[in-house]
């Protein structure tokens, strides 16, 4: 019989029983802790940036420092928090559980991914201490500025290159796992939706990440040897960098949001005590988003001097992506119809997600119409859009998932009242922080501005105040979870009455997940059990 994976140390002791473990659950938790560590770093930098922007002129840091702050903030949040966020932590923990497997297909490669992740993270952070200082290019690394600046752009780009490897390895691991290790009877159309989104995400990771790898490598070579690919003084074309960069970085935003959508697709049926509405529609819309998402990258370049034909084509395809996203939203909401809805913390976070992501996504449409993009590109409107999608969307879904699976991962339960308070505080703080940015952008305040004319003062002030409310919310949330980790009540194996396979093993699950590999006979959210009536009470 398997033992609790927390106590099964594979013959190792202390920290090395974690950092050399090939158990997907331990690796998932390793990822979770390290990702939260990077998140905290990014968040503190965000707070500093808001403090600088509280008033016009210099407030706390110099222009040079501010430039590095938003660059590091962007790099950390994108590459080290939100891209690996859901798939590598929650995904690693839950994918084998959800498909009834004992582990992922390549446990050792899984561990390697985590190591690469850590090495990349430390490399990125190390730029702060290296002579020359942290990069000051923005997370987009646009040349020719990124070729000229004396800061440590190459080191940061190399860090992103390494994490690309980590991401690719996770992707191919997940695809192989899903193809090879599903439990008997788990057909494709019986797979839980979170697993489905991990599957689509893994494909995007595999297809897009190599492109950023080569792009960053070429940038590094350009800086080291002057190869001239992106340097107009040698005949290169800076727009080619923009193309290559966004060929990866747009699909990357779907790497962030797809698994987040998967989490919501798990939570909503569970707390409605009902099978999900339109399972197939949700599955195929996810695949459509992944596919279309690959060919819309040009919407980041409408004002770059790209050809007008491209503007038209990219704008058109971008609009098309909204349709499958809408299908998901509509199906989640329809799932509640005639259900038995109970708003426990995970569900509350899911509601916050649906609302905030809808705002983020719908403002994405204002971005993607060429005529309006010409005005708001490069302004705080964009900053607001992507915080709504990434933080309000992917971030809140991550929190939702954390609350949903916390009892499964730790075996303990947190305080509901505290997490409700946290969620509401986060929600309010979030809107106070980011909504004014839409107005700022519409008024014309460009992003990456260290200083701004006085007419933008009010909205910036409000926004900074919002960041403190948000900080308070995060503090409550994490304190609550940290307390529960040590002092929480025992949660039981299936506290939410979930239907997917992970709820049918113990909490936390034993070393190889299942005492006996389950045989699947029905869809993931079906409540018709043998010997049970529909909709048990």
């Amino acid at each position: 019989m398997g033992t609790d994976f927390h106590t099964n140390t594979e013959g190792r002791k202390g920290i090395s029983s974690w950092i050399f473990s090939t158990d997907h659950k331990r690796i998932g938790l390793l990822y979770l802790y390290s990702i939260l560590g990077f998140f905290l770093t990014g968040v503190v930098i965000g707070l500093l940036m808001r403090l600088e922007l509280i008033a016009p002129g210099k407030t706390i840091v110099s222009a040079r420092t501010y430039d590095s702050l938003f660059t590091l903030h962007g790099i950390i949040m994108i590459f080290f928090f939100i891209i690996p966020g859901v798939p590598a932590s929650l995904g690693n923990f839950l994918l084998p559980l959800q498909i009834g497997a004992r582990d992922v297909a390549f446990p050792r490669i899984n561990l390697l991914s985590w190591w690469l992740y850590m090495i990349a993270g430390i490399t990125a952070i190390s730029t702060i201490f290296l002579p020359g200082g942290p990069p000051d290019t923005g997370w987009t690394f646009y040349p020719p500025y990124s070729i000229r600046t004396p800061t440590n752009v190459s080191v940061a780009a190399f860090a992103a290159f390494i994490i690309g490897f980590s991401s690719i390895l996770t992707g191919l691991n997940f695809i192989t796992t899903i193809h090879r290790l599903r439990a008997p009877g788990m057909t494709w159309m019986r797979m839980p939706l979170f697993t489905w989104t991990l599957y689509s995400t893994a494909w995007v990771q595999i297809l897009a990440t190599p492109v950023i790898a080569i792009t960053l490598l070429l940038l590094i070579l350009e800086r080291a040897f002057g190869t001239g690919f992106f340097d107009p003084s040698k005949g290169g074309d800076p727009l080619m960098f923009e193309h290559l960069f966004w060929i990866y970085s747009h699909p990357a935003v779907y790497v962030m949001i797809l698994p987040a959508m998967g989490i919501i697709s798990e939570i909503v049926p569970t707390f409605s005590r009902k099978t999900v509405f339109g399972y197939r529609a949700i599955v195929f819309s996810g695949l459509t988003i992944a596919t279309l998402g690959y060919v819309v990258w040009g919407h980041h370049m409408f004002t770059s001097g790209m050809s007008d034909v491209s503007n038209m084509v990219f704008s058109f395809i971008t609009f098309a992506v909204a349709v499958p996203s809408g299908i998901k939203v509509f199906n989640w909401i329809a799932t509640m119809y005639k259900g038995s809805v109970e708003v426990k913390p995970p569900m509350l976070y899911a509601f916050a997600f649906i609302f905030l992501f809808s705002i983020g996504g719908l403002t994405g449409l204002i971005n993607s119409a060429v005529a309006t993009n010409i005005h708001i590109h490069g302004t705080f409107f964009i900053v607001a859009h992507f915080h709504y999608t990434m933080f309000g969307g992917a971030g809140f879904a991550f929190f939702a998932g954390l609350h949903y699976w916390f009892p499964k991962m730790t075996g303990r339960m947190y305080n509901f009242r505290a997490s409700t308070v946290a969620c509401i505080t986060l929600f309010i703080g979030f809107n106070v922080l980011y909504f004014p940015m839409f107005l700022l952008g519409w008024q014309g305040m460009p992003r990456r501005y260290y200083d701004y004319p006085p007419e933008f003062h009010w909205n910036n002030l409000i926004s900074t105040l919002g960041s403190w409310i948000l900080a308070a919310g995060l503090l409550i949330m994490f304190t609550n979870l940290a307390r529960a980790l040590f002092k929480g009540e025992k949660a039981g194996n299936n506290p939410w009455d979930g239907t997917t396979l992970e709820w049918q093993t113990t909490s936390p699950p034993p070393h190889e997940n299942f005492a006996e590999i389950p045989v699947v006979t029905q869809g993931p959210y079906s409540r018709k059990r043998e010997g049970q009536e529909t909709g048990d009470r």
């Binding site: 390549f106 695809i175 297809l207 492109v211 792009t215 070429l218 040897f225 002057g226 005949g235 290559l244």
Partner: protein, 198 residues
């Protein structure tokens, strides 16, 4: 059939990895295509400064090594460890020859002052600068792959001798060979793009 390792799974992982490699090279091919369309005269001028004979010779070497790699897989499946080792050894050796030739080719170019960053290089026409940069980067990255392949084959050779890789457990060799064939394919495209098209 209770096997602990999943060979098909391992092979699937390798293929997926190779597909990412194709996209990795794809990024460079994209740059090549765009700059070639833009500076076609310079590109043909610069391409004629590369030595076709050397290029062709290296192509033959690499194709042959791919053949011996495939041969060694067939042999090991039959359980013929000895001839499998020989084929493996020849593959690695051909890889080394390829690298030596590449090295002399590069040194000749560098000896003439043609390398990114040199004064002579920066005075060349824009299209030529880009062509030679592409030449160095593409063949450089390819050579790195060849080098990794050689090391992998050495390790496999050792495993064959120590009995880890054998007639009924050849997935490591199979994956190594797959990787090597991919390196060959990359060169199959690099060769005409850099040496032949004028």
């Amino acid at each position: 059939m209770v096997k602990h390792t999943d060979d098909v799974g391992a092979k699937m992982g390798m293929w997926l990895f190779l597909f990412t490699e194709m996209l990795f090279f794809g990024g460079m091919f994209l740059l090549y295509a765009v700059y070639r369309a833009h500076y076609s005269a310079d590109f043909s001028g610069a391409s004629s400064e590369l030595n076709r004979v050397i290029g062709t010779f290296n192509t033959v070497i690499l194709i042959t090594s791919s053949f011996t790699a495939a041969l060694s897989l067939s042999e090991i499946k039959k359980g013929a460890l000895r001839s499998a080792s020989v084929s493996l050894g020849i593959t690695a050796l051909l890889g080394i020859i390829f690298l030596i030739i590449k090295y002399t080719e590069w040194s000749a170019k560098i000896g003439h002052g043609i390398y990114p960053g040199s004064a002579y290089f920066n005075d060349l026409a824009h299209g030529k600068v880009l062509f030679f940069s592409l030449y160095f980067v593409m063949t450089g990255i390819h050579a790195l792959h060849v080098l990794i392949g050689i090391v992998v084959f050495m390790v496999i050779l050792f495993m064959v001798h120590s009995g880890t890789v054998r007639g009924n457990n050849f997935i490591k060799l199979e994956n190594a060979a797959l990787y090597w064939h991919f390196v060959d394919i990359a060169w199959i495209y690099l060769f005409p793009l850099l040496y032949l098209l004028r």
